[in-house]
């Protein structure tokens, strides 16, 4: 093996990668999908949602914030881990308002797509029915906080690629919500529809106006193929 190369196994499959990679990035490159929600390949990982939690050398840890180590043994696609992930997804469904039938992101929503992939038929926890004000002050962007799952992607994107710091969190615990850095709402900020922050939302919290139904229902990203199919397509056929 060349210097800096290391090797680990995930679900019994051996993966070779470079030192300094996160587990999730190494697996993505190898074509092995670990379910995730807050992780975005262009942004600094936050480890918020815990959907990518794997069993690593016997301990549970989020794959997006765990660096690869030589010889580590990872379990990913196990009934227990997938059941835990499903519980997390269900909790996110009941904590906000996620009415798929009349949501603009349906078919393109990563929360919904994970529900499909993990086989959720219905969230069975009690619904919270939170009430949040809609922010329609921006001419090109619509902000619906009832959909927010607190992934922090927009916060990271607004800070780093955009250099604007439009978003942050306000409050703590269950009261924590997305805060906009401007007295007059989103319309009073420097936010623009071409910003990275406007395009990383996994749900329909940040929506570009006049764009929602450009791609009709039934032809969207996750309508035909499960989330993660693109990553799994990278996997080279194992030597026979």
């Amino acid at each position: 093996m060349p210097l800096g190369t290391l090797q680990f196994t995930i679900d019994g499959i051996t993966v070779q990668t470079q030192e300094g990679q996160s587990l999730i990035a190494a697996c993505d490159a190898a074509g092995l999908y670990i379910p995730r929600l807050c992780y975005h390949p262009d942004l600094r990982p936050a480890g918020n949602c815990r959907v990518c939690t794997c069993r690593i050398d016997g301990h549970q840890a989020a794959a997006c914030v765990t660096p690869v180590r030589d010889g580590m043994v990872v379990e990913n696609d196990t009934p227990q881990l997938n059941a835990d992930r499903l519980a997390l997804i269900e909790m996110m469904f009941v904590e906000g308002n996620h009415p798929c039938p009349y949501c603009v992101a349906s078919g393109d929503c990563e929360l919904q797509a994970l529900g499909y992939r993990l086989g959720m038929t219905a969230p069975v926890y009690p619904f919270f029915w939170p009430r949040h004000e809609i922010d329609a002050s921006h001419p090109d962007i619509f902000l619906d906080r009832e959909r927010c799952i607190a992934c922090s992607r927009c916060i990271e994107a607004s800070r780093m690629p955009d250099g604007k710091s439009v978003f942050s969190y306000e409050g703590r615990g269950i009261a924590m919500h997305l805060h906009v850095d401007g007295w007059g709402g989103l319309g009073a900020t420097q936010m623009a529809a071409i910003d990275k922050a406007a395009h990383v939302c996994p749900v329909a919290c940040i929506v570009i106006r006049r764009d929602g139904y450009r791609i009709p229902n039934g032809q969207r990203r996750f309508d035909k193929t499960p989330i993660g199919t693109d990553i799994e397509a990278r996997r080279k056929a194992p030597p026979s």
């Binding site: 009415p99 798929c100 039938p101 038929t121 219905a122 939170p130 009832e146 035909k224």
Partner: protein
């Protein structure tokens, strides 16, 4: 041998799930051979008078009458299936869950932009009392299986019925599992 009995009801829903059931087209003939329709809007039978094998619940619970019907279904049906977005989480009627019932009624009957001559909130004793929120069916009674969709496609309904009638747990393939 008697055929399994099927009962259906539409609580606070739009009958879209029932329309989708009719949308199984010529398979309706197969269904008629496979099951015996019991209490259902299709045959207008209003009461249970014998045990039923499968109960299809469309719609959420927004009033006391819905709760009463749903409990009757639980009492008389061996297997209860929650069908469609309204039964699963309230659906469109649950849009009122983010405001209080009073605010909702006042907007509809007194203060709304289409109210012209100072209407009053209906309070006839014949009307079932509205609940504070629209509740999913599984908040009221135990539900055995869930079939999402708004409405679930005819294929998804057929697949679920086929599974239940052959004694299997419904497990929809990816293209049929839809929340919309």
């Amino acid at each position: 041998m008697t055929r399994p009995r099927l009962a259906t009801c539409s609580l606070t829903g739009c009958f879209g799930c029932h329309m989708s059931l009719l949308d199984i087209d010529e398979r309706l003939l197969d269904l008629a051979d496979l099951v015996e329709l019991d209490r259902s809007p299709f045959d207008d039978k209003k009461r249970f008078d014998r045990p039923v094998d499968i109960g299809f619940i469309e719609g959420g619970c927004s009033n006391t009458h819905n709760v009463h019907v749903l409990r009757q279904f639980r009492t008389h049906c061996r297997t209860l299936v929650s069908v469609g977005a309204c039964a699963l989480y309230g659906g469109v009627p649950a849009m009122r869950n983010v405001v209080t019932l009073r605010a909702c009624l006042e907007e509809a009957y007194q203060n709304g932009p289409t109210v012209t001559c100072g209407g009053h909130i209906p309070d006839d004793p014949e009307l079932p009392l509205l609940l504070d929120r629209v509740y999913p069916a599984h908040d009221i009674v135990r539900i055995d299986h869930f079939l999402p969709g708004c409405p679930p496609s005819a294929d998804a309904i057929w697949e679920t019925l086929r599974a239940l009638l052959t004694g299997q747990a419904p497990d929809l393939p990816y293209p049929l599992l839809k929340y919309e």
